[in-house]
């Protein structure tokens, strides 16, 4: 892999200025929130509803109409499935993920309320708010604190201890991608601790109840009720729903993995975040995140996680502002000599795949050079992971 881009070491004072500039950008943006942001998110809601309706209708047309007019079956079912997948992707990413961050709470619309929003996916909104909004966003890429580092399943950084189990990870990563929503659903249950006997059955049952209820709701909705509406022609509807959900899983997995597991993304030791200043926090978010350069369609379909860096700086600001903020963020980063990790989707995802393959085998952090760099850097625990 290419050599790690050098980051200029910043003194505490420079870091303070760095943070102040980023805070000022936040304040400037927050002060202008209003009608156009409300219009934007309502347009997204409408897009989710209309694509969902069109997708489901086409599936019925394909299933029922196709029984009488076979010509109709495949085109209608394929179009319906794709539209349904699009609807779910928009709902999960640009709507659900962003609303659950509280990005639109300032509107005080009860349907766009960050604390109560429930999304169209197997995992509960409440679990997500904990594992993602709190753990992942606060402890981004801190090993042992941010569960998203490999999801307790994959070894993506050489700092994670190697076990023979990881030899299977290329296959496991594919299965995980296909079943991503179910992985997210059980993430907070920490089944590993239960298997190890550290959590008793009663506690696990208690924790599983809301998770199981949400899973059942999704299964009943997508795999029982909607197919049943097509009566004897349920099969194409059922398959269409399954495929739409899997397409959504693959896409969300791709986007999320590109956000933190590209070649230049760094992980951090627990010790490095103790007593972290605001400037150091910003710097850690920057070094642990990577953007996707792709334009407006990619921004929309990725829920603006194509601006992962801006999202990690300002998780509570409306995502429709990230594109404009990115121009300034990038400029600030370059003035302070900090690497701004961005690249096309194929490039970034290629790096993710490389990590999955490479770290299935034993690997060691590239020591001497980056160790020196990280001593000079304020993030003393930061370690390069380009292996």
């Amino acid at each position: 892999m290419t050599a790690k881009p050098a980051n200029r070491p910043l003194s505490p004072e420079q870091l303070g200025h760095f943070a102040a500039e980023l805070d000022a950008l936040r304040a400037r943006t927050a002060a202008t929130l209003g009608q156009r942001d409300a219009d934007y998110i309502r347009a997204i809601v409408a897009a989710v509803r209309y694509t969902g309706l069109a997708g489901r209708t086409l599936l019925f047309v394909g299933a029922i109409g196709g029984a009488f007019l076979p010509l109709l079956l495949w085109p209608a079912c394929i179009a319906g499935t794709l539209l349904l997948a699009l609807s779910k992707i928009l709902e999960n990413m640009e709507l659900g993920h962003n609303v659950m961050h509280g990005q639109y709470d300032w509107m005080r619309d009860p349907h766009l309320d960050g604390k109560t929003y429930e999304w169209d996916i197997a995992g509960t909104g409440d679990n997500w708010r904990k594992t993602h909004n709190y753990q992942h966003h606060t402890w981004t890429n801190v090993r042992g604190m941010d569960d998203d580092v490999g999801y307790g399943l994959l070894r993506l950084f050489p700092e994670q201890r190697w076990k023979p189990f990881y030899l299977l990870q290329p296959a496991i990563a594919v299965i995980f991608a296909i079943l991503f929503e179910w992985g997210v659903a059980i993430q907070d249950l920490r089944l590993g601790r239960w298997f190890a006997g550290k959590v008793n059955n009663a506690t696990m049952r208690e924790q599983f109840r809301p998770v199981g209820r949400k899973m059942a709701h999704q299964v009943v909705k997508d795999y029982v009720l909607f197919p049943l509406l097509a009566g004897p022609f349920f099969l194409p509807v059922l398959l269409g729903n399954i495929v739409a959900n899997v397409l959504r899983n693959l896409w969300t997995y791709t986007i999320i993995f590109c956000g933190h597991f590209t070649a230049d993304a760094e992980t951090f030791a627990k010790a490095s975040v103790a007593g972290e200043s605001r400037g150091q926090w910003y710097l850690r978010q920057l070094r642990g995140s990577s953007n996707l350069a792709g334009g407006r369609l990619l921004n929309l379909l990725s829920g603006n996680l194509s601006h992962q860096i801006e999202h990690h700086f300002y998780p509570d600001l409306p995502a429709n502002r990230y594109a404009a903020m990115a121009v300034e963020v990038r400029e600030i980063c370059s003035r302070y000599g900090q690497h701004y990790n961005t690249g096309s989707l194929p490039r970034q995802f290629g790096q993710v795949i490389w990590r999955i393959l490479r770290h299935a085998f034993p690997s060691r952090p590239a020591e001497p050079l980056s160790a020196a760099a990280s001593v000079a850097s304020p993030l003393t625990g930061a370690q390069s992971s380009s292996a």
Binding site: D105, W106, R108, G114, H137
Partner: protein, 368 residues
């Protein structure tokens, strides 16, 4: 609604409703329902404006047609009304100015307040056909089940609205009481319901009305002038202390009436409309009322509310403690807060106040 309450309600729903809820969910239902009719909703009380007429120089009455989730009210009560202004839902309390009607419609009379976001919007921008959000009716002021004896109503400014509902209610019962209304307003042009009040006074011998102007000269027989005081009161209503008194108006007015009459009269009910506090202080302490648990605590200004509440022995939910994860967010019903990062001051009620990065700038009521 709390989670168990919501669960119970959803269990009680009929199977068809449960089916719809599973297939589409309330948010999607509301989206599609609003395409068919702007005030249809799965569970939220909404109302369409069906008529508006101006009541005085700076007040309008809006006649609203609520949907089926509106639970009704008693004359003399208030409700919260919300409308979206520049993308932000703004909520204020207004009094219902009419008695419950057979057609289910409700009326509010709104006075445009200087700098008042929602009142200005309702008075000038809101149109017939627009939809407003309703909260449940609240307020203790009410007539006895079988009214009798003699009553004195004291209204100042927009304080007339709940009293107007009571007057209409009494008139509807044929005025079974002896009632005097004293109604203070700055000028004749600001008096609401003048024609109707005069007509009722002419129709019902038991009902008398006096308009008291504070910044204009009295001309008509039923007008007089001057601010409220003991002398004025005993001149206008010599038997005031023998009457059941209902007073409504700004805080200062209600306080004056309370000192003058509360201790002497057989029955005293009052409600004050207090404008939101605008005074910002940095030091000292404020009272924080936790609406859900009914506790009141004294916390220092200038400190993060999360820290302050924890210091008081509470354990509000928290996560990052730096304003990004939204875990600590809770509703603020009233009061002023300051954002510790941005120094931005927020007077409005909000649904998600981040306790970890907000400090109290005035007394607060939180949904905790």
């Amino acid at each position: 609604m709390t989670a168990p309450a919501r669960l119970k309600a959803s269990r009680a729903r009929r199977p068809l409703q449960r089916l719809v809820q599973t297939l589409v969910g309330p948010a999607a239902f509301d989206f599609w329902a609003s395409k068919l009719h702007p005030a249809w909703s799965w569970s939220r009380p909404l109302a369409k404006i069906v008529a508006r007429h101006s009541e005085s120089r700076d007040s309008v009455t809006l006649l609203l047609q609520p949907n089926r989730h509106w639970q009704g009210f008693r004359a003399g009560q208030h409700l919260n009304i919300s409308a979206e202004i520049d993308g932000i839902r703004v909520t204020r309390s207004y009094s219902l100015s009419d008695t419950p009607r057979p057609d289910g419609r409700i009326a509010i009379t709104v006075k445009a307040i200087e700098g008042g976001k929602l009142s200005r919007y309702l008075c000038t921008t809101a149109r017939v056909g627009d939809v407003l959000d309703l909260g449940p009716a609240f307020g203790e002021m009410a007539l006895p089940a079988t009214p009798g004896g003699s009553l004195l109503f004291l209204a100042a400014g927009s304080g007339i609205t709940p009293l107007m509902a009571l007057i209409r209610n009494l008139a509807g019962q044929g005025m079974p009481v002896s009632l005097t209304l004293l109604y203070w307003a700055r000028s004749r042009e600001e008096v609401c319901f003048a024609d109707e009040l005069r007509r009722l006074a002419a129709q019902h011998r038991g009902f008398q009305v006096r308009f008291v102007l504070t910044r204009a000269n009295a001309v008509a027989d039923d007008e007089c002038q001057g601010r409220i005081g003991a002398e004025q009161l005993s001149a206008l209503v010599p038997d005031a202390v023998q009457r059941q008194v209902y007073a409504c108006g700004p805080g200062g007015f209600v306080d004056t009436v309370r000192t003058l009459l509360a201790a002497q009269v057989p029955q005293f009910q009052a409600e004050a409309f207090t404008p939101p506090p605008r005074l910002i202080e940095e030091s000292g302490t404020v009272q924080v009322t936790l609406a859900a648990s009914g506790q009141t605590l004294s916390v220092p200004r200038g400190q993060s509310l999360l820290t302050a509440l924890e210091a008081a022995g509470l354990q509000p939910a928290s996560g990052c403690r730096m304003g990004i994860c939204n875990t600590c967010a809770c509703g603020k019903r009233s009061g002023t807060t300051r954002n510790l990062h941005t120094d931005v001051v927020q007077h409005e009620p909000v649904s998600a106040l981040r306790l970890c990065v907000s400090s109290a700038a005035s007394d607060l009521v939180l949904d905790l």
